[in-house]
């Protein structure tokens, strides 16, 4: 049974199509990154999963239930964007308030430890720094021991050190066999902290796989050489080539299979190849290529 299923889900806001026929399934126990540029539909997808929004078409299922049922059963925890705290309450009171709303919550001490808040337990929420507030919001998200944890750009307000501590906390929580889905537009985060990366752009699925697979996928490697006055026609038909760019007499071939492309370039064409450069692209250029195409 899948933890999360999107079945041909679309969501319109008036004329704007935020999610466009999105289908995907996530198995329990996985940590999955939802990667995409701003406005790709990441937050909308998370709100659909929580039942805070209803899909215009298609269905969303969480452990075979509707999102509303899963929320009522205490299976979901989430760190949403712009989630404020109650200024007059202390960290401990806030966490205890939320954990008591769940049927089988974690112990208060355990939550404080997981979120690295033990020393801040007595502090009022209006006296916290941005990074500390984010940790409290993480604590609220895990307080009810949800099977599914959703994090919407969780490290947005954090400095480098807070980020490291945050991801350590997230991995601690996920290691208990829980499913984690986090939205991010930071490629390094998706690369380092997930088992699987789902790339969305303009509300559509652009790529789905491990970070390594995505890097190796469409436009993952490039072969470039000086073309000079020679014609570029036919280069796009070489094996493995997904895109061809010509600029200033230099051609760049995006390829999914460098070996096949090179072999065909030497054996199958009569081009004079000079100044050859090969590069194995990072996730960033793969991501740019993917989100540009779709």
């Amino acid at each position: 049974m899948n933890a999360i299923v999107f079945d041909h889900v679309s969501k319109h806001y008036g004329d704007v199509l935020a999610v466009d026929d999105l289908s995907l399934a996530i198995e329990p126990g996985n940590t999955v990154a939802l990667l995409g540029p701003n406005g790709a539909g990441k937050s909308t997808s998370i709100n659909l999963l929580l039942g805070l929004l209803k899909p215009t078409a298609g269905t969303v299922a969480v452990h075979s239930r509707t999102p509303d049922e899963a929320v009522r059963a205490g299976q979901m925890g989430a760190m949403l964007q712009n989630g404020a705290l109650i200024p007059e309450l202390s960290v401990k009171e806030l966490i205890d308030l939320v954990r008591r709303l769940y049927p089988h919550p974690l112990a208060l001490d355990e939550i404080l430890k997981l979120a690295d808040l033990t020393e801040l337990a007595g502090r009022r929420a209006n006296k916290l720094s941005g990074g500390q507030s984010q940790r409290v919001r993480f604590a609220l998200a895990i307080a009810g021991a949800p099977k599914i944890l959703l994090l919407d750009e969780p490290t947005a307000a954090m400095d480098v050190e807070s980020r490291l501590r945050f991801w350590a906390s997230m991995h601690d929580y996920a290691s208990g066999g829980r499913t984690v889905l986090f939205a991010t537009h930071y490629l390094e985060e998706a690369d380092e902290h997930s088992d699987r990366v789902i790339v969305i752009a303009k509300g559509r699925l652009a790529a789905d796989g491990t970070a390594a697979e995505i890097k190796a996928g469409a436009g993952g490697h490039t072969v470039s050489f000086a073309l000079g006055e020679q014609p570029a026609a036919g280069l796009d038909r070489l094996p493995g080539v997904t895109a061809v760019e010509v600029a200033g007499g230099v051609v760049t071939l995006h390829t999914s299979d460098t070996d096949a492309t090179l072999a065909a370039l030497y054996r199958g064409t009569t081009l004079d190849v000079s100044g050859l450069k090969l590069s194995s692209a990072d996730l960033e250029s793969a991501f740019l290529a993917l989100t540009r195409e779709s």
């Binding site: 929580l50 805070l52 939320v98």
Partner: protein, 244 residues
């Protein structure tokens, strides 16, 4: 849910604005006015120290019921705290019912402290039954105002809810004759004041201390307003939290 209600009340008690304007202000106003007029009596022979006690307790209850509902609720809706609660197992209706309950609890300090000031400083003495009847009537009678506060908080942003709640509260206080007797308003305004819930709310208290018991008309008008504003609040709350 009980813990949620307790936390809600606790946070307001830590709010300085609530403490000063809602709890301390009516007590102070009572002490000042009763020391000037306290020994005079009205046409029915009731001492002003008692009449003022009812007015100020009513004013304090009105102020706390509106100020501790409208603005915090609008802020939570806007800031994302409501969303945080919506993704917990807590049902949607429980959120607003808890707000209502917590606000009702927060009305009590104003009522009790003004009464206490009257007893201690002006030596007001009423029979135990009258005290019970008065406090219960003034407590339950705030329902329309709590509903109005929640309705305002469901529609307006926090910035707009603050002045809106203030204006409604002042208008209701003046119309209800809580600050000065309604007779000074003039005939036209009297007619308007006559239909407000605060006017009848204050009359509940005044009739009880005048030994006339519970006037049924006033009870019915306040109850009617409670139903009407409660319905409006429930509808607007639903509209504010509906998932589309």
């Amino acid at each position: 849910m009980l813990y949620y209600a307790k936390t809600e009340a606790l946070r307001m008690l830590r709010n300085r604005r609530y403490l000063i304007f809602v709890v301390a202000f009516p007590v102070l106003l009572y002490l000042i006015n009763s020391n000037i007029y306290g020994n005079q009596t009205d046409a029915g022979g009731v001492k002003y120290s008692v009449i003022l006690m009812v007015s100020m307790a009513a004013y304090g209850a009105l102020a706390s019921s509106m100020m501790s509902s409208a603005v915090p609720w609008a802020t939570e809706r806007q800031s994302g705290w409501l969303r945080q609660l919506q993704i917990t197992p807590l049902p949607s209706w429980a959120i607003i019912v808890t707000k209502l309950g917590a606000t009702m609890v927060l009305v009590l300090p104003s009522l009790v402290l003004v009464s206490l000031a009257a007893v201690v400083q002006q030596h007001v003495s009423l029979s135990l039954g009258t005290w019970a009847e008065l406090l219960l009537a003034l407590w339950l009678g705030v329902l329309p105002f709590v509903a109005l506060g929640l309705a305002i908080g469901s529609v307006l942003s926090a910035d707009a809810a603050q002045p809106a709640a203030m204006i409604c509260m002042f208008a209701l206080a003046i119309a209800g004759g809580l600050w000065f007797p309604p007779e000074v308003l003039g005939d036209t305004l009297r007619t308007v004041a006559d239909v407000t819930p605060s006017f009848h709310y204050a009359r509940l208290g005044q009739s009880i201390v005048a030994g006339q018991g519970l006037p049924m008309t006033d009870v019915l008008v306040v109850a009617g307003w409670a139903v009407a504003l409660g319905g409006a609040a429930a509808y607007l709350y639903h509209r504010a939290t509906v998932r589309v």
